[in-house]
């Protein structure tokens, strides 16, 4: 029996049960129009709540069994690590990459045109359409490479930039109808 496995199983059980109860008692009653069984023009039919109710009930039962089993027998599995430092860096890298992707184009356009031409107008033309993707994508890729290798270097940065550039050209050059992120919905 492993202690961490036991705790992880308990966490899985509690999360499953808590989610299921929340869904059954709050989310489904407030956010579904018809019940498990619905009477419509004297026709008895299955309502929209049937699938979520049965699946949440299944989750509650499975979670309860996992929890009870974990309390009574412990766990023989060794769970995978959840490294908070890694998750922190991962989250930071992804947020930084996506934020740069979203903001670079509009900010550079605002600076370059003095706010006269919005980025929305420029987003389909080079080099504007590449700015956000290249900077955000390079930062994201470089950050993750450096994180897993434990050593940031200029070579990795160059590699990340080249990879991002290749991806950008791969999607943009052959296909007129495809737009790189975030240009499609800015």
């Amino acid at each position: 029996m492993t202690f961490t496995g036991h705790l992880r199983d308990l966490a899985v059980a509690l999360t499953g049960c808590a989610f299921a109860l929340l869904a059954l008692l709050v989310w489904i009653p407030l956010d579904v129009d018809t019940g498990v069984i619905d009477v419509w023009r004297r026709n008895v039919r299955i309502g929209d709540a049937m699938l979520p109710v049965f699946s949440a009930a299944g989750m509650a039962i499975a979670g309860a069994v996992i929890g009870v089993r974990s309390l009574m027998q412990g766990s023989q599995t060794t769970p995978g690590a959840i490294d908070l430092a890694f998750l922190g860096w991962l989250g930071l890298t992804l947020v930084a990459g996506l934020a740069l992707m979203l903001l670079t184009g509009p900010v550079v356009a605002w600076i370059a045109t003095g706010g006269e031409t919005p980025y929305r107008v420029l987003r389909a033309t080079a080099p504007w359409k590449y700015l956000g993707f290249l900077l955000g994508g390079s930062v994201m890729t470089f950050g993750l490479m450096a994180l897993s290798l434990h050593r940031p270097s200029c070579r990795l940065a160059a590699l990340a930039f080249v990879a991002t550039l290749v991806i950008a050209l791969l999607y943009d050059l052959p296909f007129d109808n495809l737009q790189l992120p975030p240009n499609g919905d800015i």
Binding site: D31, D33, S55, A62, Q73, F133, T141, F142
Partner: protein, 527 residues
């Protein structure tokens, strides 16, 4: 139209209906080009440690849909590419397993046991030949079984099963997948039920999309491709990145590849391998036909069966070509058979089938299930033509595999040394871009990463992913089947228990869940 006419129409559809290049009487169609492209990409990806077929399927699906659009013409090129990848990736996994002792795909682990000792003894080329011969033989056999069994099974289901029985069959299949995938029955069930719940968000028949929290982003429904790719691929990338972050292996110098050496495989040697290939491809096909049981188990069972059959030297584990043949024939035989439940029942049995069903659902015009194999004489059934065209493309992929697979495997020996630490971040950016270009919405990217994090948490907690994905895909058809069966029964609350067949299916589902839980007791250790 008769059966023969449908087969001919399918072949014609695959080769000529969507031409890319016409040179007089010669027509090169998009589906054939995409099969070729998919096959070589699949071998390359399968041969790259850290990547696998589902990665490239996940990357390619949104791009292909964006390129070819949502028209019926898009269906065969997209399905052809996915089929090519599926076949190529299984083959490619053997290359690094043999040359570098690093399985390219999880099912190629057993191949390392005999493949790498052969490579170290200067017989790497021969080991690759054995792997190719066994793999392509197993794959071809499995495809033949698919071509025969899928229509037969579908016709039987249409003939003998009514609406309640079909609904009960779906419940049985889902229970089976939840129980057999992973090491813990109850975590599998938790995963499947969660998949059903997520699938119910912003769907249903009411005018208000249920469980959408009044959100404009959720109201149109969760983007299926982002959800599936997030849980399957992004979650795996996060876990792999963490492993590399925590491991010191990243700093070790890569192992030197032995020279391929002797690569000949005589007819006599091939004949000697046939009994091992025969047994293993039988095992692989049976396992592949059952939803949820993957190639890894098939490879392990094929290897074990081969070891029992083997006499003489070298022994299994010390460089026996029969060991490679037994493993590769078993894991390759899974790929065709895996499509039997997908095409005849609409139930995806593995990740490749998930992507094929996903492609069919997204593009439209082809709904895998018993209805596909309706041999209507007076009116043409277009879905049946597509099914036979798909079979034709599988034959094309097999021919390509027979003719060029061995050569391409040898060629890849020198090309697959890109470290995972560099590769995976690039794959993540590719995934993000692919999902974005399909929907042109940043919300799809956030959903992709959110479900990626969910996939990460599920993996590290031992909650299997496949039941979630299959339940998510199956939820819509299952709910529709249950609704229709209920209404057809005149709102009988016991509609699912009204016939002996549906009762038997449900009893079997309950027995599988309870029996597996009882047999397993607590989950086995990580080994």
């Amino acid at each position: 139209m008769g059966v023969f006419d449908y087969i001919l129409a399918g072949i014609f559809e695959a080769f000529t209906a969507n031409p890319a290049l016409v040179l007089g009487p010669l027509v090169l169609s998009w589906p054939v080009i995409l099969v070729v492209l998919g096959f070589f990409t699949g071998v390359l990806i399968g041969a790259t440690p850290g990547l696998s077929g589902p990665f490239v399927m996940a990357l390619a699906l949104p791009i292909l849909i964006s390129i070819f659009g949502f028209t019926p013409d898009a269906l065969l090129p997209v399905l052809g590419f996915l089929v090519g990848v599926m076949k190529g990736a299984t083959l490619g996994g053997a290359v690094p397993a043999i040359l570098f002792n690093t399985p390219g795909t999880p099912d190629a682990f057993m191949t390392t046991l005999d493949g790498h000792p052969m490579a170290k003894a200067g017989q790497g080329g021969k080991a690759l030949r054995v792997a190719h011969f066994a793999s392509v033989t197993g794959d071809t056999f499995s495809d033949i079984v698919l071509f025969v069994c899928a229509p037969f099974l579908a016709i039987s289901i249409e003939a003998f099963l009514g609406l309640p029985e079909k609904a009960a069959l779906m419940i049985l299949s889902l229970s089976f997948v939840a129980v057999v995938v992973g090491k813990d029955t109850w975590k599998g069930l938790l995963s499947a039920c969660f998949g059903l719940f997520v699938a119910s968000i912003a769907t249903g028949t009411d005018t208000y999309p249920r469980l959408s929290l009044g959100s404009d982003v959720l109201a149109p429904g969760l983007p299926t491709i982002a959800v599936v790719i997030g849980v399957l691929v992004v979650g795996e990338i996060f876990v792999s990145l963490q492993e590399m972050y925590l491991s010191k292996r990243a700093r070790q110098a890569p192992a030197e590849a032995p020279t391929p050496g002797d690569s000949g495989l005589s007819l006599r040697e091939r004949r000697k391998l046939l009994p091992f290939i025969g047994v293993s491809m039988g095992i692989g096909t049976v396992i592949g036909a059952l939803p949820g049981i993957g190639t890894t188990l098939a490879a392990a069972m094929g290897y074990t069966a081969g070891r029992k059959m083997h006499r003489g030297t070298p022994a299994f584990g010390e460089g026996a070509p029969e060991g490679i043949a037994a493993t590769e024939a078993a894991n390759s035989a899974v790929s065709g058979a895996n499509l039997i439940p997908a095409l005849s029942l609409g139930i995806p049995g593995n990740v490749a089938a998930v992507f094929i069903i996903l492609a069919a659902d997204t593009i439209g015009g082809f709904n895998p299930g018993p209805g596909v194999f309706r041999f209507t004489a007076d009116v043409v059934n277009p879905e049946l033509v597509v099914a036979f065209a798909l079979f034709t493309l599988m034959v094309v992929a097999n021919l390509l595999n027979w003719l060029t697979g061995a050569w391409f495997m040898r060629l890849l020996g020198g090309l697959i040394r890109i470290p995972k630490q560099v590769l995976l971040p690039i794959v993540l950016l590719l995934t993000v871009t692919s999902v974005y270009v399909e929907g042109s919405a940043m919300s799809d990217v956030y959903i992709l990463l959110g479900f990626g994090f969910l996939g990460y948490l599920m993996r590290v907690s031992g909650v299997p992913i496949l039941p979630f994905v299959i339940a998510y895909i199956l939820a819509g058809p299952m709910e529709t089947a249950i609704r229709n069966a209920f209404e057809a029964s005149g709102s009988d609350p016991w509609f699912l228990f009204s016939s002996p067949i549906s009762l038997a299916f449900l009893a079997l589902a309950a027995a599988i869940v309870l029996g597996a839980g009882w047999l397993r007791g607590t989950p086995s250790s990580d080994s």
